[in-house]
């Protein structure tokens, strides 16, 4: 008979990620308010919204970065309350974030960070990943120093994949990126999904959504609240055509 621990049992029946009435503050100001969201393994959730709606803040809060603080609600990962865990502990549990603006770090080579991560997470196909995302050529360069937009996004996604994450969050992977990079990024997201990784994709323009074969849900985030959630076929064409404000009116009136 196989004996499971309570945590393992909970992990099996609980959602991968659950945000319960989450509020996130930056310097006392509430950026995200009472937000609830459930992501299951292998699902792709797209969060869209205008600039300043709180998309990046939300991902930072789930990752546990120091800047935004959680000022209400809870975050559960595989049933475990991680609301107060530091980011590196969350990373170890399998949460990952491809940053929108990763910092340029002089003197630190991509190879050094990648090798340290391979040592941490073990990675059987990292050479393949590096090839797939065309990052081999940057291995001996200082991390993100002088990288183009597309190079930064590909490198971030490469590092994220080295974590072999259970939950992958991608912050605007399609902004400021050439067409070739978007194809590569989309293919990597498909790879993540095929490994049963849950994906939260934040996008302002929605370009990358056209390249993905299956998206489970699209959420509209406006002023820190999810104001609409629906299937991609329902939501994406409306938003692409009308923009956020008008699009929301169209979507809600359809439902009414």
């Amino acid at each position: 008979m196989t004996v499971y621990t309570i945590t393992e049992l909970l992990g099996a029946i609980m959602p991968l990620l659950e945000l319960r009435d989450l509020s996130v503050c930056v310097e006392e100001k509430k950026i995200i308010e009472n937000l609830s969201l459930v992501v299951e393994p292998g699902e792709i959730h797209v969060i869209m919204g205008p600039n300043g709606s709180g998309k990046s803040t939300l991902l930072s809060a789930i990752m546990g970065l120091k800047t935004p603080t959680i000022c209400g609600g809870k975050i559960y990962f595989e049933g475990k309350d991680i609301t107060n865990l530091p980011s590196y502990e969350r990373a170890k549990l399998g949460i990952s974030l491809a940053h929108q603006y990763p910092p340029e770090i002089k003197g630190v080579k991509l190879r050094e960070v990648a090798s340290a991560m391979v040592r941490k997470y073990g990675c059987s196909d990292c050479t393949l990943l590096a090839k797939m995302l065309l990052v081999e050529q940057f291995m001996n360069r200082d991390l993100f120093v002088g990288f183009s937009g597309g190079e930064k996004k590909r490198t971030e996604l490469f590092l994220l994949m080295l974590q072999n994450p259970k939950l992958a969050m991608l912050d605007e992977p399609d902004s400021g990126v050439d067409v070739e990079s978007i194809e590569l990024l989309a293919r990597s997201i498909e790879t993540l999904r095929s490994r049963n990784t849950g994906v939260i994709l934040v996008t302002h323009l929605g370009v990358i959504t056209e390249k993905l074969s299956r998206i489970n849900k699209v959420h509209l985030l406006i002023q820190g609240r999810i104001v609409y959630s629906g299937s991609p076929d329902e939501v994406l064409p409306v938003i692409m055509k009308f923009g956020y404000r008008k699009g929301l009116e169209v979507l809600t009136s359809k439902g009414a």
């Binding site: 970065l65 800047t67 590196y88 990763p102 910092p103 770090i105 630190v108 340290a116 941490k120």
Partner: protein, 400 residues
Amino acid sequence: MNISEVEKALIKPALYGPDIDLSKYKLEEAVVEEARDVDPGVASAAPRVGLEPGKLMYVQSNERALYTAMARALSKYGVIVAPTREGLEKKPLAKELAWRLVNPASDKYTASAYLYGGEVGYFIYVPPYTKVPMPVYTCLAITTNNTVQFAHNIVYVDEGAEVNLVTGCAIPHGIKDGVHVGISEFYVARNAKLTFTMIHAWAEGLHVRPRTAVRVEEGGEYVSYYVTYSPVASIQTYPTVYLKKNAKAYLASIIASSKKGVYDIGARSILEEPGASTENISRVVAKDESSVYARAEIEAIESDTKGHIECLGLLLSPRAVVSSIPIITSRKQGAVLSHEAAIGLIAQKEIDYLMSKGFSEDEAKAVLIRGFMNIDAPIPPSIKKQVDQILDIVTKYAVG
């Protein structure tokens, strides 16, 4: 040499650094002898500066200068590695070069070395167009307490020749105090190249006063890569490099300071003829209550010369102090000189970023400090590997 002038200088303090009363320390008699076995003190000090005792070509323990069998391995290339006293007795060139670049009357340390040092230290000669196939490893150690050690090093790299010199200066565990005074006079002839890697590992009660001057002739190249990482009572040094036509210098210092140490470390380049160029780079990582003065100076005497200073410092403790003091002086139009200096903390956003990748806060700091000390110095890969190992130790030391 005007002896009375040198004698007068015995009480002359140095321009920088705390003044040391040398009379408080004992001085052993200088001796030169064959090394039968590696001196146990040196054997335990050498690994602290990344050196293997078996590979050393010159060894000095206090005032005992030791020949090693390894030095003879180079004699087939015509390369001489010998105690300076031996060189002065047997080689007219050594005599001609001694005390030409460093004036014994500069301060009490040079004067004492000249008058009482007994001319121990190393003399190295590389014949014309000889590329020495292996690095020349030397190690100077202070192996008893309360001792003053003098060393007078003379290096001549003849026309078109190339050599990589690695010198480690250290003390074995258990040595608490002492003074090290090292006089180094390096000559790089036309189109020759000398890379000089020096690693220092001292202890809280040690005072260190290196006095170095280098002359680089037309088309020659001098690379200095200096690393110091242990606590020390004080280090004060300000090497000067004189560069002739089209000569190049790259002077890098990595300083990881700690405890209550005073680290006054500089690099000065004099661009004497057209085409001369220099880069003076320093990286300072300061913790505890240490004080660091990172000095750098470039003086352009001729036009069509180029020089750049880059001093970067990281403060790892609220009580440490770092002063960056760059000076650029141009005496002719057409010299291009610049400097860049910055002192800061480790960037929080960089720590946050690495933590989001699964690095703990300490691990993230270590990665960033290690990266901060990474410089692309033009040294051979084998030595770079050695220095990298030392920098890994330095990082642990700086974070811990």
